[in-house]
């Protein structure tokens, strides 16, 4: 019982971490969240005094890359925060218990902490056949509904839970949906990315624990501190972009010089994320730094906006697959052709008019007559109405 009420700090001390490690971690998270030093003090205070938060962690249709991500976090304590600070009562991937035992723990925790626990969802929920994702004999949807009922807030971890990721890509064979599409009524935070950066995950959790409210979210439910700027606006290759110096193929001279990957289809200009600021794997690098364009993994339905290695959008659903520019150019050519044909036919059909030999160059008299008749009718209508009004006023008199 007592272990449940331990603070994160106590837990760390028991594990043999130093206070110095702890303070470093608080400073790191505070910095990422853009807090002032008073804010950092608040974090230190909260982690030392507040009991850890109960968390239920559900895994549905996913590849577990989000869990993998935080296990490879930059600061050792970033990983710890997820495992220790929050008291992780149920995570079918990480917990030691399994089978009936595990399910029993989950049920008990949900009962004891009803209305107080945070539900973390990793993966999307298929609404097609339950066979697409079934856990302990129950469909993902059933499991989700059960855990969502008693949750205080829901954190949708990663692109799967936030917008469906690759299994949601056209034609979405399992009819899978992200959390915010199948649930409303409680706050849902979309911690986007495939996977999200571990430090971002830790930052969100620390924020909630410290301030006891959700961080400010954008219209897609993403925390603004981490998803407020584009990769492109923080990318170190941006000067090459503005200079129009683009890599033309992955093995050319320009790639060696580290020019911008825009031409190679880099989706940094489309993508709100902090990869270029926080970076990955102990802040070593991020995709663009290692020479590959951003694929836009923190944006909804990014898989559907093919192709990965070009900016020019593909057009689907008209029988042919082609880039919009090819179709546009073809349409323009067809239009030009049509215009030429039209010009030729005009010279034949309208030769009299062109040569000024039309005897009757008169205006369209039929339309003129029709218009006159219409006006006549309108005048009659008004006259009728007037006489009716006159009659009525006579009667009332």
């Amino acid at each position: 019982m007592d272990t449940k009420n331990k603070t994160f700090y106590q837990e760390l001390m028991e594990k043999g971490y130093s206070r110095r490690d702890f303070l470093k971690f608080c400073g790191l998270v505070g910095g990422m969240l853009g807090l002032q030093s008073t804010g950092v003090a608040q974090i230190i205070d909260a982690l030392q005094t507040k009991p850890r938060k109960p968390v239920i962690w559900e895994h549905f249709q996913e590849c577990t890359c989000c869990s993998e991500s935080f296990l490879r976090a930059s600061h050792p304590l970033v990983g710890q925060i997820l495992l220790e600070m929050i008291s992780l009562d149920y995570s079918d991937t990480l917990m030691a218990a399994s089978g009936e035992q595990a399910e029993a723990v989950r049920a008990e925790s949900m009962k004891n902490n009803y209305g107080k626990y945070i539900l973390i969802v990793e993966g999307s929920v298929p609404l097609g056949s339950p066979g697409y994702c079934t856990i302990a004999g129950r469909s993902a949807k059933q499991v989700f509904d059960e855990s969502a009922a008693g949750a205080e807030a829901i954190i949708a971890w990663g692109n799967c839970a936030s917008s469906g990721c690759i299994q949601h890509a056209r034609p979405n064979p399992t009819k899978t949906e992200p959390v915010h599409k199948i649930f409303s009524g409680k706050p849902v935070i979309n911690v986007q990315g495939c996977p999200p950066i571990a430090d971002v995950m830790a930052g969100v959790i620390t924020y909630i624990l410290t301030f006891e409210r959700l961080p400010e979210l954008d219209n897609m439910g993403r925390p603004k501190v981490f998803y407020g700027r584009r990769v492109h606006d923080t990318c170190y290759r941006r000067p090459a972009y503005d200079a129009g110096l683009f890599v033309q193929s992955f093995d050319d001279e320009n790639a060696k010089k580290g020019y911008c990957l825009y031409y190679m289809g880099c989706k940094g200009p489309n993508t709100f994320n902090s990869c270029a600021v926080i970076k990955w794997n102990n802040c070593v690098s991020y995709p663009i730094q290692s020479g590959h364009g951003c694929i836009g993994c923190s944006e909804p339905n990014f898989w559907d906006y093919a192709p990965l290695y070009s900016h020019i959008p593909n057009v689907h659903g008209i029988g042919i697959e082609a880039t919009s520019d090819k179709i546009g150019a073809a349409l323009s050519a067809v239009t030009l052709g049509g215009v030429l044909v039209h010009a030729v036919v005009t010279n034949i059909q309208k030769r009299k008019l062109i040569k000024n030999q039309m005897d009757d160059i008169s205006i369209n008299t039929e339309e003129y007559e029709r218009q006159k008749a219409r006006m006549e009718r309108e005048r009659e209508r008004i006259a009728n109405q007037e006489s009716r009004i006159d009659n009525e006023s006579e009667k009332t008199n």
Partner: protein, 256 residues
């Protein structure tokens, strides 16, 4: 020498604001298409020098944004003029609400698109079909402006940028918005091809001076067409007066 003396009248059709709008619009759309195309699919202009000595792609984007602002302001002025201008500039030209306009659209398709008869359709201002396509152009322009400003919000700290950023995010972010913006560019390209051709076409067969009318504002119109127009205008005025009288009488009756 071949010559002829038709019964024509000069009519002042396009007022100065309309003409200015037209050419500013043409110019900015051209710039927006060219620079937009370069932004979407940049040519390999590699100076081989380091980034710090170069900014050409930045200038192209800047040109796109400046043209965009002129395009928007110009359009706003034109929308104002749709309520303040003469009958040929008025908003109701562009939305086919009357039977006459709807008939006019079919008539124009018959005569000028399918070329079924050698007889021309005469209009003083826009013909009904053309006017309707300009309404379509307005709608596409609005979509282009909204998607453009939504994207622009990410590189701007103007007071309105946060609103457009919220809008961008609500529209599912850059991916769909950029694609719409890109694909609609082709609509403008097609429009320009057809529009320019039709000006040539009309001037060629009807010789009413459409092409130069966008410079000076005047057109040569068949006498009878002008007569008809004036008589219709008079009729409409009379009907309007009649309607007003009718209404005021109704009111008096109710009061009595």
């Amino acid at each position: 020498m071949i010559s002829r003396k038709p019964a024509l009248r000069e009519v002042y059709v396009w007022q100065l604001p309309v003409r200015i709008f037209h050419w500013v619009n043409a110019f900015t759309i051209t710039v927006l298409i060219v620079t937009g195309f370069i932004i979407g699919d940049p040519p390999a202009i590699m100076h081989g020098t380091a980034p710090e000595f170069n900014y050409w792609f930045g200038w192209v984007r800047l040109a796109h944004f400046i043209a965009a602002f002129i395009f928007v302001i110009n359009l706003l002025v034109r929308i104002y003029w749709a309520f303040a201008g003469n009958v040929f500039a008025r908003w109701n030209n562009f939305i086919p609400l009357t039977r006459k306009q709807i008939n006019g659209i079919f008539e124009t398709i018959k005569v000028d698109v399918l070329l079924l008869t050698p007889k021309p359709v005469y209009d003083i201002g826009h013909n009904s079909l053309a006017a309707f396509t300009y309404f379509g152009l307005l709608l596409v322009s609005i979509v282009q402006i909204v998607t453009g400003f939504a994207m622009f919000s990410a590189s701007s700290n103007a007071w309105y940028a946060p609103y457009f950023e919220d809008l961008l995010i609500s529209m599912n972010g850059f991916f769909p918005v950029r694609n719409i913006h890109h694909i609609l560019m082709w609509f403008f390209v097609l429009f320009v091809i057809v529009h320019v051709y039709l000006v040539f076409y009309h001037d060629y067969i009807e010789r009413n001076g459409v092409a130069s009318s966008m410079i000076g504002g005047w057109k040569f119109i068949n006498d009878k067409v002008v007569e008809q127009f004036l008589s219709e205008e008079k009729e409409n005025e009379r009907l309007e007066v009649d309607r007003k009288i009718e209404q005021s009488e109704l009111k008096e009756d109710i009061n009595a």
